[in-house]
């Protein structure tokens, strides 16, 4: 079956962590290492298989850099 999961546009993410805290099952964590411009930073990523596809992360994101996309589960 398919379910939706968050997909991130890291280029425009500001690492504010609102999405991870909005997740009701803590499936998101600020764990992904990357760069925001020249700055080393941490970005959101799925850290468990528990994502329920509720989309609260995408709705909460002020920068609108999260899309919910279908994925094979």
């Amino acid at each position: 079956m398919t379910k939706k999961q968050p997909v991130f546009d890291y280029l425009h993410c500001v690492s504010c962590g609102i999405c991870a805290q909005a997740c009701p099952v803590s499936a998101l964590g600020m764990k992904k290492e990357g760069k925001s411009g020249k700055y080393r930073n941490l970005f959101p990523e799925l850290v468990s298989s528990g994502c329920i596809g509720c989309g609260q992360c995408a709705r909460a994101c002020p920068m609108e850099v999260i899309r919910m996309e279908a994925s094979q589960a």
Partner: protein
């Protein structure tokens, strides 16, 4: 719909009961949430004369109005109580993830009264709410306790818990202890950790997942997106930190203070608050040698504390909840001299200044160790640094002997002795025991009161009032005296409050010497600063958002969008005045005499410094504080809010609805 949940929780630790209470909407309209809600609740529920370390004291944890709405820079949680350090109003705030976690359990604030009969922690996931045995965690440092609680609870919680806890300093009732979260972030001031320790409350653990309300989330997000896009573009070329000391030298001799809120964003994004250290050393902003020295005493120390040294070992930036700025960072300190840990949070400016120039300590490595040690212990680095500075000056002047210091040679800049003394303060061993309750108590025991730098019992933050006389007004007039995060001249210049408030004077380039005079203009500026800070605290906002100015971080627009209101800046500034007046009334009820609180003589410029950017400066602090009180509608001799002011702010009606 507003952002308020309309409910608070009161936990009686003696009776082991939890009671959910409804808060009338008019309370939120009057004081918002966060510190405002706490001011309302504590003013109405802590009796006069309550023992700060006894069951009648109430310890509140609150999130601000904007937390969880999508507004940026609104992740601060505020803890408030009667302070055991000052005997009056006490509060401290911190970032991390704990603020939204409070609201996600379904309350705007959680209050604790009573004393538990053994170590407990409070747990809620929004469905199960209970006190649990904390015997296994008592005695652990704050970071160890947080990790242990996560290990025990994550497997059985749907959502990862957030933990606020005390370390050994709070457990041992150190009056300069705070409350920690996120591996060493700390709400440090006012002795809030000792109050939590006195209640035998080791930790507050929250794992709720309630959705958080907001009137117009799209409007809030649009404001955040605008700010976020700006910040993404704000980047400085690497390596500029080496010039900050020279910039400070220039600022120290400039007749004017600069006016630009975006400086905050550029500097804090590049380096964090430690950007200020080398500037403070050379400009006169940062205290040197227990507030008695000048930049001449620490020539070239700005190179030691060049922020680039710290950036080099930063492994990643650290953002509090809802913050696009990311002034924090994680540092790899493995293998560095003195390091007993592998990692530490990037030390804040206040910590570096308090254990660097203030003590004439030239070792940056020792500051990493002290930072981690004190964060884990849950001890306030500002108060601890001021207290060690007193001890060193007493030792240098023969007031303390080597026998009294348990063999420590407490000379200026003796890094090893400083480290040992701080370890003993944390453990409350020997001479360290006396210092663990701050500089006022220590000087009452050993003498050397002339070297004890405190304001109303609390050690001042690391900015010199001789450099910024407006700060001197807030140090004294603030109901939690000694705090540096209420207002400064340089920040007033950056914030443009006159663009949201009809009575706030324009921020103009003006000679620094004007701020040394007692004028109506200065009184209105300090009032505006204090009102806006209280508003920010009610909203749960970050001081650094505030420092960016009203045109970058649009607080009025955020509040109107989140609450469905259409108020102007004057209305919101009155909310700030109401919160500040409630806190002052709290102090009056607790027997505080505001007129007895003064700056230490040294900080008033008595005697004046002989050289450097602050050469010859003398403050008219008492006169300026009187004018500040008058601007607030408080008695200008006593600092007591006048009856007509209390009435005009609607405080009697707020007391009635509390009954």
């Amino acid at each position: 719909m507003t952002s308020f949940l309309g409910k608070i929780l009161h936990v009686d630790l003696t009776a082991r009961t939890v009671t959910e209470k409804t808060v009338p909407p008019e309370v939120y309209e009057a004081v918002l949430a966060g510190k405002g809600l706490e001011a309302w609740y504590l003013y109405n529920n802590i009796p006069a004369g309550a023992d700060p370390l006894g069951p009648e004291n109430i310890l509140g944890f609150a999130a601000g109005a904007l937390c969880g709405t999508g507004a940026f820079l609104t992740g601060r949680w505020t803890v408030a109580c009667k302070s055991p350090l000052t005997g009056g109003w006490g509060d401290a705030n911190c970032g991390g993830l704990f603020a939204p976690a409070i609201k996600q359990c379904g309350w705007d604030a959680i209050f604790f009264s009573g004393v538990a009969d053994g170590p407990v922690y409070f747990f809620s996931d929004g469905k199960t709410t209970e006190l649990r045995d904390a015997s296994d965690y008592w005695g652990l440092d704050a970071t160890e306790a947080e990790k242990a609680l996560h290990a025990a609870l994550e497997p059985v919680c749907r959502k990862k818990p957030c933990v606020a806890c005390i370390g050994p300093a709070g457990e041992k009732l150190s009056l300069i202890s705070g409350i920690c979260n996120e591996g060493g972030r700390i709400a440090a001031r006012s002795g809030v950790g000792a109050v939590m320790g006195s209640k035998r409350l080791k930790a507050v653990v929250l794992a709720g997942s309630h959705p958080l309300p907001c009137h117009d989330p799209e409007a809030v997000k649009a404001l955040s997106k605008e700010l976020g896009r700006k910040l993404l573009k704000m980047t400085l070329p690497s390596g500029l930190g080496v010039f900050i000391g020279a910039g400070g030298r220039m600022m120290g001799h400039l007749p004017y203070l600069p006016l630009d809120g975006s400086l905050t964003a550029y500097m804090f994004r590049e380096w964090g608050t430690q950007a200020n250290t080398s500037l403070a050393i050379t400009s006169g902003d940062g205290p040197i040698k227990n507030w008695g020295g000048t930049p001449r005493d620490v020539r070239r120390m700005d190179a030691v504390y060049n922020p680039e040294h710290i950036n080099k070992i930063e492994t990643a930036k650290y953002h509090c909840y809802s913050c696009p700025l990311g002034c924090g960072g994680k540092l790899n300190i493995r293998g560095r001299r003195y390091a007993e840990y592998d990692e530490t949070h990037k030390p804040e400016y206040e910590t570096i200044e308090a254990f660097g120039p203030l003590l004439m300590n030239w070792s940056l490595d020792s500051i990493f160790q002290l930072n981690e040690l004190l964060n884990r212990a849950g001890m306030d680095t500002i108060s601890a640094g001021n207290t060690v500075a007193w001890a060193i000056e007493c030792y240098e002047n023969g007031i303390l002997t080597k026998e009294q210091t348990d063999g420590l040679e407490l000379n200026w800049g003796n890094t090893e002795a400083i480290l040992t003394l701080v370890r003993r303060m944390v453990a409350r061993e020997g001479f360290g025991d006396a210092l663990a309750d701050g500089v006022k108590r220590a000087s009452e025991t050993y003498g050397g009161k002339e070297y004890a730098m405190h304001i109303g019992g609390q050690e001042p933050g690391m900015h010199d009032a001789r450099n910024d006389p407006q700060l001197g007004v807030h140090f004294v007039a603030e109901p939690a005296p000694g705090k540096h995060t209420v207002g400064m001249g340089i920040e007033y210049g950056a914030m443009s409050l006159c663009d949201i408030c009809s009575w706030a004077p324009p921020a103009t380039l003006h000679p620094k010497s004007e701020d040394l005079e007692d004028t109506e203009r200065l009184a209105l500026i300090t009032k505006a600063n204090a009102c806006y800070t209280m508003l920010v605290d009610g909203a749960g906002g970050c001081y650094y958002g505030q420092m960016m100015g009203v045109h970058m971080w649009k607080l009025v627009e955020y509040l109107n969008a989140a609450e469905g209101w259409d108020y102007d800046g004057d209305h919101y500034m009155e909310i700030g005045a109401r919160i500040q007046t409630l806190r002052q009334l709290f102090n009056i009820r607790q027997g505080i005499d505001p007129a007895s609180i003064t700056l230490p003589r040294r900080m008033q410029g008595d005697p004046p410094l002989p050289s450097g950017p602050l050469k010859g400066v003398r403050l008219k602090n008492r006169e300026q504080v009187s004018s500040h009180w008058r601007a607030f509608g408080w008695d200008d001799r006593t600092g007591v809010p006048l009856p007509e002011t209390v009435e005009a702010l609607g405080i009697p009606a707020l007391t009635e609805v509390a009954q």
